[in-house]
């Protein structure tokens, strides 16, 4: 196996943390939404897009990233945020709408900004890709070897912003890597109904850049492919496009009736769970059960602490709604 053991351990612990985070959110999101589901009610209101099952995309490339590298993500951002090292407490507080949140409660689950680790995301499909282009451009103009990674879904690859961004980054040879998380659906619309080619990776040739398709939601393969792409980007060799076949265990958002897929689909996907697969690899590599337990415990604690921090934090004062439209210190 060509992955350094430390990296694989980091990937495992991070995947576990992501999974626990999302599974906890499934529960927390329902608080106050029973017996009658009301999207605006409860501890965590609004839309909630969870990424349980999609961890490999986040950790496979995340293992190669540094603090100075930029990540932009989509409406389904938690796994990407966690892998980038976003402050979990403040992220969770943001999702709870608390004043201790990353955005003082103004952004919410789809709009998480952590400037310390250069993470951002947003609710408009594909709109984060141009931002990553800009971060890559800034890195290049500053003469740094930083890279920018934009995560999008396979549905987003049909948006104009995807095309424009890849062309621009290719023309300017920017250190941009676009990761397409192919979870088969854009809400209810299957990839085959929305996308003219089976693999978005094939579209890389439209920009003269390298394209990769990672099958089977495989974190190790994602790690390998990303290693190459990140290395080349740091060396100034331009952008890459990586698509990964991944699995969305939950609905598009919480509350999704999922009328568009068969009842057997998710159980079959869960059979092939990537976390289980990485765990076996670690066991094969001789990692002890004790160490595995310690990793899982650390992950669990981090998640628990984050939710507790969020719960215990205060809501912002109503008047805060009027602040932060403009930076008043400016000029």
């Amino acid at each position: 196996m060509s992955i350094p053991l430390e990296k694989l351990k980091w990937m495992y612990e991070t995947m576990v943390k992501i999974r626990l985070y999302e599974e906890t959110m499934v529960q927390v999101y329902m608080e106050g939404k029973n017996p009658v589901f009301n999207i605006g009610a409860g501890t965590v209101p609004g839309e909630m897009h969870l990424a349980a099952g999609q961890e490999p995309a986040a950790v496979g490339i995340g293992a190669h990233l540094r603090k100075e590298d930029t990540v932009t993500a989509s409406h389904r951002p938690h796994h990407n945020a966690i892998a980038k090292g976003v402050d979990l407490n403040r992220m969770t507080a943001e999702i709870f709408g608390k004043e201790t949140g990353l955005g003082k409660g103004k952004g919410g689950h789809m709009h998480l900004f952590d400037t310390d680790v250069k993470f951002s995301c947003g609710g408009i499909v594909a709109a984060g890709v141009p931002h990553a282009v800009g971060a890559a451009l800034a890195a290049k103009m500053k003469g740094k070897d930083w890279v920018a990674v934009a995560f999008i879904g396979e549905g987003a690859a049909n948006a104009g912003a995807f095309h424009e961004s890849l062309n621009l980054a290719a023309v300017w040879k920017l250190p941009l890597i676009v990761v397409v998380e192919d979870n088969s659906y854009g809400i209810s619309v299957p990839k085959a109904v929305s996308t003219a080619v089976p693999f978005n990776a094939e579209r890389a040739s439209a920009y003269g850049i390298a394209g990769f398709y990672v099958r089977n939601n495989d974190p190790v393969e994602m790690y390998r492919v990303s290693e190459d792409a990140v290395k080349r980007a740091r060396l100034g060799e331009g952008p890459a496009l990586i698509e990964i076949e991944t699995y969305r265990y939950l609905g598009h958002f919480q509350g999704d009736p999922e009328v568009y897929r068969g009842i057997d689909e998710v159980p079959a996907l869960r059979e092939k769970d990537p976390i289980v697969r990485v765990k076996s690899l670690l066991v094969e590599e001789g990692v002890s059960q004790g160490e595995l337990n310690a990793m899982e415990t650390r992950a669990r604690s981090a998640v628990d602490e984050a939710y507790q921090f969020a719960r215990e934090s205060a809501y912002p004062q109503p008047g805060a709604a009027l602040e932060d439209v403009f930076d008043l210190a400016a000029q």
Binding site: G105, A156, S188, V193, Y315, P318, A321, L322
Partner: protein, 340 residues
């Protein structure tokens, strides 16, 4: 309805979908396109049941390519089809506004009236459930500012059906804004007024006519969609205090029925305009300006405006509640107006 009638209660979304279904039966050129309008029936139920009934040729799920499919609706309309195209949230307008504004709105004019674009762009507006800055806007004025589009925003199941029928039959492009919370969906706030009597047979409600939904002599409140419903509730509360507010449901931003507004102000001499959109350069300004131009001497108090105070819509519940005008703010504003 003052006589006893059989009340056929439908939610807002079912009223809309019924209008579309009946028009699809009536005219084979009518078809529907958009993200998740197929099996899913539209995220806010605007296309409920259509795919099952009319099939995938006439109810088309699209890729996430708003410029392409809204532009395709324009191209198809120019060929005599009558597309109904859904922009899932109005907030996404920015990825496709060129098609909407430089083409859908202008081609009829630029062609000297030769090209007709009989199409409807339906889109969900509104907040109130913590969907934050990119999924909670109404953007009424953004669309109403630029000429060439009819822009309507019905507030009741009855109007949703009747105005949808009118929109489909209109040979002009129509922006049909439906308010999420007024769709009567099972997973959102349950409001009495998101369910209402809707006749089964087809009928039309004209585009461009405001509706006096409550008569009163002391003050005129102009609202639209949620703010209209809030205004009615506020008016009912104010009646207890002896203040009789007249409430106007604007229903249509373009054409704007200024006569109904002016007539009311000439009667009540006081005006409050309430909007769920941003305050500056918005709907409240336009109505206030019309009155300041055409009924200035009828006013016995300065005009008041309530709207989102020029901030993006915040996510956190207490913050969002602080900036979207509700019943309380309306009541207080009216009290201030009549005290004058």
């Amino acid at each position: 309805m003052s006589t006893v009638v059989h009340r056929r209660l439908l939610t807002g979304n079912k009223a809309m979908a019924e209008a579309i279904a009946q028009e699809m039966e009536r005219d084979e050129n009518v078809f529907v396109m958009g993200e998740d309008v197929g099996a899913y029936g539209g995220i806010f139920g605007s296309a409920e049941g259509l795919h099952q009934r009319f099939g995938a040729e006439r109810v088309r799920d699209t890729p996430i390519s708003e410029t392409a499919f809204i532009g395709a609706a324009i191209g198809a309309a120019a060929e005599g089809m009558r597309p109904i195209v859904e922009l899932m949230f109005v907030d996404f307008f920015g990825v496709c506004m060129d098609q909407i504004y430089n083409h859908m709105a202008k081609i009829h004019y630029m062609s000297g009236g030769n090209v007709k674009l009989p199409m409807v762009l339906m889109t969900a507006v509104g907040g109130g459930y913590s969907d934050a800055a990119q999924h909670s806007q109404t953007l009424y004025a953004t669309f109403a500012h630029m000429p060439g589009l009819k822009v309507v925003a019905p507030a009741t199941p009855y109007d949703l059906k009747g105005m949808m029928v009118s929109a489909i039959r209109d040979d002009n492009p129509v922006i049909f804004m439906f308010h999420k919370t007024l769709q009567g969906l099972g997973w959102m706030d349950q409001l009495d007024y998101s369910v209402g009597h809707v006749p089964e047979e087809e009928y039309t409600v004209p585009l461009g006519k405001a509706n006096v939904v409550r008569e009163g002599k002391d003050v005129t409140i102009v609202g639209i969609q949620m703010t209209m419903h809030h205004a009615v509730e506020a008016a009912n509360q104010l009646a207890v205090e002896g203040i009789e507010a007249e409430v106007i449901d604007l229903r249509s931003l373009v054409p704007l029925d200024k006569e109904t507004i002016l007539n009311s102000v000439r009667k009540t001499h006081r005006l409050l305009v309430v909007d769920e959109d941003y305050r500056s350069y918005g709907m409240t300004a336009e109505i206030a300006a019309i009155v300041a131009e055409e009924a200035l001497y009828d006013l016995e108090a300065p005009i008041l405006r309530l709207a989102v105070p020029d901030v993006p819509i915040p996510y956190s519940r207490p913050l969002e509640q602080a900036i979207v005008p509700g019943v309380k703010e309306i009541r207080e504003a009216v009290e201030q107006l009549v005290r004058h």
